[in-house]
Subunit: 404 residues, 4 copies
Amino acid sequence: MDLGLSERLKPIHAAVRDMVRDEIAAASEEFLAEVPKDGRFVYTQRQRDILEGLKAAAKSRGLWNFWLTASARGYGLSTVEYAYLAEEMGKAHLGAETFNCSAPDTGNMEVLERFCTEEQKAPWLPRLLEGEIRSAYLMTEPGVASSDATNISIRCVADGDDYVLDGEKWWASGAGDPRCAVYIVMARTGGDDRPKHGRHSMLLVPADTPGIEVLRAMQVFGDDDAPHGHMHIRFTGVRVPKSAMILGEGRGFEVAQGRLGPGRIHHCMRAIGQAELALEIFCRRALSREAFGKKLAELGENYDVVAKARMDIEMARLLCLKAAWMMDQGDPKAAAPWISAIKVVAPSVAIDVVDQAIQLHGATGISQDTPLARMWTHVRTLRLVDGPDAVHRRQVARWELSKY
Amino acid sequence: MDLGLSERLKPIHAAVRDMVRDEIAAASEEFLAEVPKDGRFVYTQRQRDILEGLKAAAKSRGLWNFWLTASARGYGLSTVEYAYLAEEMGKAHLGAETFNCSAPDTGNMEVLERFCTEEQKAPWLPRLLEGEIRSAYLMTEPGVASSDATNISIRCVADGDDYVLDGEKWWASGAGDPRCAVYIVMARTGGDDRPKHGRHSMLLVPADTPGIEVLRAMQVFGDDDAPHGHMHIRFTGVRVPKSAMILGEGRGFEVAQGRLGPGRIHHCMRAIGQAELALEIFCRRALSREAFGKKLAELGENYDVVAKARMDIEMARLLCLKAAWMMDQGDPKAAAPWISAIKVVAPSVAIDVVDQAIQLHGATGISQDTPLARMWTHVRTLRLVDGPDAVHRRQVARWELSKY
Amino acid sequence: MDLGLSERLKPIHAAVRDMVRDEIAAASEEFLAEVPKDGRFVYTQRQRDILEGLKAAAKSRGLWNFWLTASARGYGLSTVEYAYLAEEMGKAHLGAETFNCSAPDTGNMEVLERFCTEEQKAPWLPRLLEGEIRSAYLMTEPGVASSDATNISIRCVADGDDYVLDGEKWWASGAGDPRCAVYIVMARTGGDDRPKHGRHSMLLVPADTPGIEVLRAMQVFGDDDAPHGHMHIRFTGVRVPKSAMILGEGRGFEVAQGRLGPGRIHHCMRAIGQAELALEIFCRRALSREAFGKKLAELGENYDVVAKARMDIEMARLLCLKAAWMMDQGDPKAAAPWISAIKVVAPSVAIDVVDQAIQLHGATGISQDTPLARMWTHVRTLRLVDGPDAVHRRQVARWELSKY
Amino acid sequence: MDLGLSERLKPIHAAVRDMVRDEIAAASEEFLAEVPKDGRFVYTQRQRDILEGLKAAAKSRGLWNFWLTASARGYGLSTVEYAYLAEEMGKAHLGAETFNCSAPDTGNMEVLERFCTEEQKAPWLPRLLEGEIRSAYLMTEPGVASSDATNISIRCVADGDDYVLDGEKWWASGAGDPRCAVYIVMARTGGDDRPKHGRHSMLLVPADTPGIEVLRAMQVFGDDDAPHGHMHIRFTGVRVPKSAMILGEGRGFEVAQGRLGPGRIHHCMRAIGQAELALEIFCRRALSREAFGKKLAELGENYDVVAKARMDIEMARLLCLKAAWMMDQGDPKAAAPWISAIKVVAPSVAIDVVDQAIQLHGATGISQDTPLARMWTHVRTLRLVDGPDAVHRRQVARWELSKY
């Protein structure tokens, strides 16, 4: 069970780490400051220059599409290896996109790669792999508890050579981006007579299909995350050809399961990266700032806070690496409870460390003068996306109890 | 040690509670939705109508200036009695201002009432008591650890009949409001030869004095809290007459101490109000939403979450009431550690309960579709304002250890 | 809602506090050291001298039977007033018994006083009130989850003028004491056709009735708590006259409910007393011991530990006092969720504070050289007796959810 | 960084695991039940039969002295490999001793092996390796804060060809065992003029040297841990030849440091074993016991408790394995903060899991009817031995802050 940084990964890892720290971090801050106050879901020329500049630099250095773990097209990295890179990418807002490794595109590209026909791939996959377009994954719906995905209810009815979709989706991350060209949509195709996990299907839907209406951007603690966006979308008589169906009717959960495992590991390792960054920010402040005649580090429980953060981060990282290693063993079912476990643990650790860093900074910590407030809302969100903690804890518990 | 709702308060309490719940809560949401996306520190006609409408209604019902605890002008409520009202006011964004009970004005009015001459009061106090103007309290500064207020460094130099102020303040809450007419400013007047708590003074500075420049609005988790605002302000050769000095040179800490006690109790009781509201929102969701074939209330640890929230809120409220009762005994020094204790406890309880309510709602909880995300950032802020937790825990510990 | 120390209680409270601290604490340690290593459920002459000496002194000072809250025979203290005394009594092993206020006798005497006929009282109550005999309360049974008391299964069958009992009870606290003369026994008298809470009855059973066999002493973290003891008892054809039945067949739960409320408050306030004692021990150690060139108080998080302990204790005490005040309002049903709440909170706070005191003492803290280890096992036990935390949290949650 | 179970270890691991579960666990309970109530520091014939029977069986199967990681005499296991065995050995009271792997003997044998001359080894090491005698390690002293080991004060003065020792030691684990033949004693040989870590020396002292007096057995939550014992020992003019000095005067800390690393890893992995056992006990109870018409597993937060336990154990184990792997890299200084980290984490996790198992069992959990109460007091002790948590957190924090 080798959880270490492999020899072949070391130079790649160093290149990614350095680029994030030395180039992407500052560029990300500038990018975010450039988002217009109104009419936010656009790219200004300056934003485009920043982002495409970073991507071009990364591509020219051969730092691209690391997530293609199993493919001949990519580096063929193991999940463990990719995890180490994801941690570094997590340390800047544009960290993942610079290397064409951002959610939800990596997961969507995996779906295209693994489950789609050549005809389905052709219009989207090559351009996604080049970073020319982006994509969204439409799962969650307003009004139903999507943590239990069998509740998903958007209607998808066969009509001649087409399927017709009606209903609403929300939290469609990335759908606000003007470059977003295609949606992967989970819809209900089967009635109550079908088995519970055989009632849903997954379809490829071009973003500009008539009948699609982007209602609004969902906010995350007041932030619309423009120009990426988490959009609330209405489908009214949206018509796609039958060839838009992935794998076949009723196989939506099969696709969803195949998609989620690696994505959750990536999320978690990026959260570990944020926790590391927050701990660094904490330590630097604790050593440089004084109150009551002492460095903050020497005051009260701050030593204990640092120690706890270091221990928590190490443990969460090791658990993520073990989950990644399980994934690499080729049995996703065996890996599933491990992925549920890190989905609970990693965001929670990151939230705690970022929160402590905020507290040490006083009011500065919640202001625009550090990245901490944005980091906090981001990692807090991770306790909800891809299943809330309670659902994952339930999975871990059922697995444990099933041993007896 | 009567901590109950007094007989005379009951009708007032019921009137405030009902008005917050039935009128102010919805009006607050509309008010916030009206804030323009750009150029935010103004009042639109609609905003003005909402706010002044609420205030006029409250005043006409005799629900006004409750905070004047010791004064003949007000109800003469005890701090315990006021605390019960503050809890209700905490349940809506405009809850306190409707009754002319909002921070920082109540504290500033107390300073005017208790420490100022008639000449100092005249231009400001009557209009503040009527809710015609607002005020700000300029304490915290960028670049120094203001948790140790002896670090405060803005220069205030006598020059003929004037004082001249130079330096920067930030987190001046309410200074973004176009109605904000006067600042109470803590400045450094004495050198290192003076005793540590005798180097600072408090002055009344009209907001429109030449040399005052509002640099920017500090953000709270990305929110500028317009039109109220927490402003970053620069003083360049700002000149005020010597009569602007409150109590006299070097007595700044005396004024500050007198000001802070009640204000902290109000903050804490409003936080209790937010916690109560969050628990109500939690319970309603838990009873109305289903997943995995059960009400959310019946799933996992949710019963335990409800029980813990109820117990934590009750304990925090009782502690606040005891601190208020201590304040009412007339010995602020004896009350001080109790106020430090609630300053740690009440925000922390509110944060936990709001966070649990967010989690139960899934992504809806962090979105604009519930007030929870805004409530969270607000109560989180309370762990920092008026002294971070660590400083207050230190106070409580020193008091305890001093017994032996 | 007066939760303070009443004027009339002040001299009594001072007398109890001083006697516990100055006389009973040291005597308790000597008493415990006198328990023989083998054949432990006896009283040596020295033990008898210590205990009866304390009791005689207390009685002669008029400090006796405080728990008789509602009765003309006692002080007529309110539950709030009694709670303050219970806190002090909790600070020494013999603290409660010295004043004839120890569990389970107070609860048993209340049952006799409130629910029994004069004939039932005569052989037991006067002698219990004088402290001449002791009693036990036989509720819990091996093999069933007694947290759900409807599971209680010991058989009680009418046979002529008698009832005949068969089955086992355990954790019969005090039944190891050679002075223990009478048991109050809950038994099943009704079949499944009766309503769930109408199947059980409560009986008075002399401890020397033929067929009663004390099998063993249950241990608490390895301690048999001799000579008090928590006994495992077998009933084989134990025959009592029908007049032994309290209130009547099927009314066992009515008796049990009436008995438990005050007893739980007493337990909780004694736990608060232990927490206070532990905090005092913590502070004295922190101020007197040095490591790494500093007082322990100045090291690491110890200030924060002290502050947290002080805040937690104050909140738990206020909650207990409010529960006591609810009890005094005369509606036990309304008081029930408050009592459940303190049953969760107070032991938990005491456990934490005692644990921190242990930790600060290093290995000394778990040894016989401080009372801390015994205090810890005692307060830990309180999370289980009279219903485990989970059951009480459930009660609090159901009450809360029932509001909506 | 391979943290897995190696191929060569698998059969050994299986043999140890099975023997602990199928033979040693029950034998341990019988052994403990055989300890006499009085005069406890002896071996009855039955105790001797049990213990020597287990040891003979283990030795005959080649399961012996695994701890000899670096030695040609043992299996030459890596620390990672040994860690997996330690986890299994932790699951029964006699688990470690059966395989001659128990503390403090393994550490003492390492000292003899690595730091001692052949003359020093001859009388003790061969017999220790055979399990014929036992040994103790005398470090901690009453009256000083031994968490800062530079406080150790027992006098050791050269006198002719001898050293003479005077002073007291306590918590000398294993010194109560009648088979304990030799002590390794840390004593103060240098004055304040010497560097802080050069004032102490380590000596070999036969247990039967005149002037040694065992004063009493220290108790752990009331338990004297007979016949092993944690003894309080007085040295009065105890005379040993100069050849008893290990390495040389002033080199005590060098020996102590070399000794502690592996020992702490063993302690921690045995704690993980206890946590695993407790989780198994929890799950079996949760699935077999009913209350309120449901399995305990289905009630309240129990699923969440199981999930948290599983996640915490996995993380703590991975951290222990990483610390072991660091140890195997040959740089103990680099491994030190990792060992401090697990010393904090592993006992804390075990305490939590055992405590939850106790709580689920109700009063049975604290009684003699499960091993849980004894497990709890054991793992609680680990937060104190070999340095309390606070000292180790401080080490981790200093290491972290030193990076900036």
